[in-house]
Amino acid sequence: MIENILINGLIHGGVYALLAIGFSLIFGVARIVNIAHTAFYMIAAYFIYTFSTRMGLHPLLAILLSVVIVTLIGMGVYQLSIKPIQEHEITVLIITIAVAMVFQETVLLIYGGHFRGNPGLLTGFLEIFGVRVSYQHLLTLIVVLFVLLITWWILLRTRLGIAIRATAQDREVANLMGMNVHRIAMITMAIAVMMAAIGGVLIAPLSVVEPYMWLHPLVMVLAIVVLGGLGSIKGSLIGAFILGFTETLVVFLLPLGAFLKGAFSLMIMIVVLLLRPEGLFGVAFEEER
């Protein structure tokens, strides 16, 4: 059971990390609270369901197509409905809720509210110390860690990464250093949505695909971001794994209490906030200008 908890915890934590880091990035760079963030994850799951189950495309091609299309949709949404009102925080909040609702209702109209399944890329399983771990789980885990590693590398080692972090910390000074803040926000949005889409295509074979599948992750992402410290990428990463493992532990240790997984996670968030109001890696608020 420990191995199962470990594998599932890593996968859930990893997918939450994909979502939460993207959410933090776009919040940091463009000051957008993107409620629609996990809705991109949901439509990515539907795209892969359509491409592989309905149209019978090769799974790899389906994955690629889904991620690319969702990323483009994300950029379109940013350009058309977020950017023009970017400086009005409350309006952005409302608009992104609206975008999420539009996605959800569209999916409901096209596919209905049924639970859909999606075949994995691999079948079979591996025995590690007498425990069966399916290849699909292993593959998911590897891909998640790989994507996280690449993101980490981009943020820490590349010119673009420096620009993204600089913009997140001080947009005005970033602008003064010659960074085109609008373009960087657009690129960040693309990266963030792409990460969410990868999360969506990875989770589709392991779980059910349904129109409301974005709500629970959204609550978790908000909790993770607050837990880790608003705007802190490291905080989002660690917070994601903390809550991912919490959920998995609750599901495995309390077989009848699986519905409590959200409650436990949010409880942890509240405890952390009581002890450290700025979150694990957040900085206490400073005057911005």
Partner: protein
């Protein structure tokens, strides 16, 4: 002249911050702008570097009211007042902002790399990094340290170093002495005149007139958004009224 500002006026809603301001900075020059609090010194630099225009776009249609900007700014013969801030930086006019504002969660070296964003040539970046380290050896010692934990003086050096990384044609510095001990102020001013001596002209906004006037080639005195006097330290200090009322000397 390298930088020429013609009849620049800036209004925030109904408050006039800059009123028909004209000034210029030539090649090889260190020009200072002094004046009491609220005279519009910071707004002037923000207008020149394109930040006021940026702010105007952000605030458009908000409850804070509109910003109006009038006048022209020319930089190396090109009109720049219609350009967004990042393109002004691209043309070589860099502002080192008030209160230093390093990227606090990034290390010193990352801050410098952010300053070198405009350069794509790795060799050039390396070369400029060496130049900056030569000017500010303390930055080299602290290069792996997170910049938020630096002392005020070191942060100021970092802010200037960061702005120098792209080898600007003109460096504007806003109040570098704020919050620094007298000894550190002296060091910062010393470094700024070294920057000028290395061939990069400087437009320096600073309240500490006694030191700055002596090292600057020319000085302006700004009050209520207007230039009220201009000249060398000697010329300005001869004027009794100016000295007592505006410069506090």
């Amino acid at each position: 002249m390298l930088l020429e500002v013609h009849h620049l006026s800036v209004c925030y809603d109904t408050a006039m911050i800059l009123n028909d301001l004209s000034l210029s900075v030539g090649e090889q020059e260190l020009v200072s702008v002094a004046g009491p609090n609220g005279a519009g010194k910071t707004t002037m630099l923000r207008a020149i570097s394109g930040l006021v225009r940026w702010e105007k776009e952000i605030l458009r249609g908000s409850r804070y009211g509109d910003i109006t900007i009038e006048g022209r700014v020319h930089f190396s013969g090109e009109r720049i007042d219609q350009l967004p801030a990042h393109e002004i930086a691209e043309r070589g006019l860099l502002l080192c902002p008030e209160r230093r504002r390093p990227f606090r969660e990034m290390t010193v070296i990352e801050n410098l790399m952010a300053g070198a964003y405009l350069l794509k040539d790795k060799e050039a970046i390396k070369e400029h990094l060496l130049t900056v380290f030569r000017l500010f050896p303390v930055l080299k010692e602290r290069s792996r340290q997170v910049s938020g934990t630096l002392s005020g003086g070191e942060q100021q050096m970092l802010a200037i170093g960061r702005a120098l990384m792209s080898r600007p044609k003109l460096l504007c510095i806003d109040e570098p002495s704020t919050g620094l001990a007298p000894l550190l102020r002296k060091e910062v001013f010393q470094k700024i005149s070294e920057v000028r001596d290395s061939g990069i002209p400087v437009l320096l906004v600073e309240q500490e007139v006694s030191t700055v006037f002596k090292m600057a080639n020319r000085n302006y005195v700004l009050s209520s958004g207007k230039i009220i006097a201009e000249g060398t330290a000697q010329e300005l200090l001869q004027d009794e009224v100016l000295r007592k009322t505006y410069l506090g000397l």
